[in-house]
Amino acid sequence: MSVVICTTALVLAGSAFVSYYVVAERRSITRGLGVQAETIGLESVSALAFNDDRAANETLAGLRADRNVVAAAIYAADGTRFASYESLASGAPALASTAERDIPDRIQFERRTARANHAIVVNGRRVGSVHIVYSLDDVRADLARFLLITVGVLAVSVIGALLVARRAQRALSGPIAHLAAAALAVSRSNDYRVRVESNHAVGELGMLIDTFNQMLSQIQARDHELDAAAHRYQALNEQLERRVTERTAELQVINKELEAFTYSVSHDLRAPLRRIDGFSGMLAGKYGPQLTGEGTHFLSRIREGTQHMGRLIDDLLNLARLGRKEVSQRATDLSAIVQRIRDGLSREAEGRVVRWTCGPLPIVDCDPALIDVVLTNLLSNAVKYTRPRAEAVIEVGAIEKPGAPPIIFIRDNGVGFSMKYVDKLFGAFQRLHRADEFEGTGIGLATVQRIIHKHNGRIWVDAELDKGATFYFTVAAGTVALEPINEGAVPV
């Protein structure tokens, strides 16, 4: 590149010099010939006047001093040749025997000669003309020499520039090429063991290569550390997973045992309870009238206790059964289930004002019997906890977003609860209200959560004390359809 620029500059400079030389020479010849022709013209006036060709020839002979003048002539006013001169050296270039009349003063450059024409004018009258033929051989020889020198200088300069460029290439481009190749290799193979040799590189380039190598070393070190850390992390992870699996297995065993225990205990408790219930019933039937008022009260308290315990045992058995039960999923119309539950609950809420708002509910893939339990629990809770309200408002609906399972919600304007206790809400035997306020076993929401989790769903709640509560849940197993428009958007 720099060689091309150097060469171009030199060629341009050379051309400029040569052009200038040619122009300057031309101007110098033009001026010199003009002066010569005019001088001869002036000296020839009298010779022409007195028809003295001898004198005119003598005047012309004076041109011998200039070896470049190869021929000259003086023509009379009528164009006849009056006097002439031809250099001995010349190969006798043709001198016209007659001159054209009235040709203007001018100097014509031909290939090897310059021809000057000069009119001799006296008192505004043309009395003759001078013609000089000037050889350009000397000038051409000079020009040739000049050109030769220019070309020589050019050639030497270009060769010098090439040599310098080659050395520069070896010292600069070579290492840079190495560097680029190494950088490419590193970026392609991520092999940070590559190093660039810097044997020829000096100065900044050497520093660059050293820095590059240092950088590679650092990256290599980092890479090692990273690898080690990744290995450690992986080992830790595997260990953790192993531990989780072990714990899960243990937990499953414990859970199974616990369930079996709960089931058997509940089951075994049933028989004595039934006996207490039966005999206390018979006692009340047969000997009730003989009992005192206090006796009757005690007996009814015993009976209430047994009945409550019976419900507890039933619920516990249900909860325990859930652990064993497989979820059998199928497309289930939630609207139909809600409708049926609502009908059942309205008998329970007879005499109360309950305003139901049921939005469209999707058809979801789930176990219909289990979802029935969920909805029954949530809806009966809503009816139960709105009892103090003059007008109970219960809303059931679905929130659907494309790409996510639909969220079913049950909202009521009941007594609600403080979110402080939300953690206890879904625990078994955990109750936020006193039993004399709202009856219940404290197992319902635990059962609900269990069922939802068995469906890989999620349940959460949003509530405020005295303002009501909203339960949300999803059944991640998916939706079959709600409306045609949602079909494609919902994952199955």
């Binding site: 028809n51 003295d52 004198a55 006013a77 006849t80």
Partner: protein, 166 residues
């Protein structure tokens, strides 16, 4: 004597001897300096011819051609003796030799350039003599006579003379 000459100066190639002589006579005025004491007009050139009417006619023609270019040219044929010193140049034609003695006497000490034919004319006291050499009309000059008449003749003119008598 050849009546036709090769004429290289002004005029046509077929110019007669008279034409050439007239042309030379006119050209002489450019190479000769007359003294301040010259008797004739200073702002005009007076060219006089004794005899030869051919030359006189040719001079008239030149005077006409040259009118407007430089000084006015007056041509007089056969001037009276008293007026002779007013001539810048007086050409004495052939056959007028008998008047020469009187003429030279009249012009003695005056600054009139006297021209004539043949070298013998110079020996008699003339200043310029036309001669024919190699079929060309040439001239000789007597510098002695010219200096006596206080005329200064340019070296340019002398250069073209066949012979100069000093």
């Amino acid at each position: 004597m050849a009546s036709r000459l090769v004429l290289a100066a002004q005029g046509t190639p077929q110019a007669s001897e008279s034409d050439v002589k007239a042309a030379y006579l006119y050209q002489f005025t450019k190479y000769v300096e007359w003294p301040a004491t010259f008797a004739g007009a200073a702002n005009a050139i007076t060219l006089c011819v004794l005899g030869d009417s051919g030359v006189a006619g040719a001079l008239e023609k030149i005077a006409g051609d040259e009118a407007g270019a430089g000084r006015k040219v007056l041509v007089r044929q056969d001037p009276d003796a008293p007026h002779a010193p007013e001539c810048h140049i007086l050409f004495v034609g052939r056959g007028e030799e008998r008047q020469l003695a009187v003429l030279f006497k009249t012009l003695d000490g005056k600054s009139t350039l006297i021209a004539g034919d043949d070298m013998s004319f110079l020996r008699r006291g003339g200043m310029v003599a036309f001669i024919v050499q190699d079929r060309k009309l040439r001239f000789s000059i007597s510098l002695v006579a010219a200096e006596a008449a206080h005329l200064r003749i340019s070296s340019q003119l002398l250069r073209h003379a066949v012979q100069v008598i000093r």
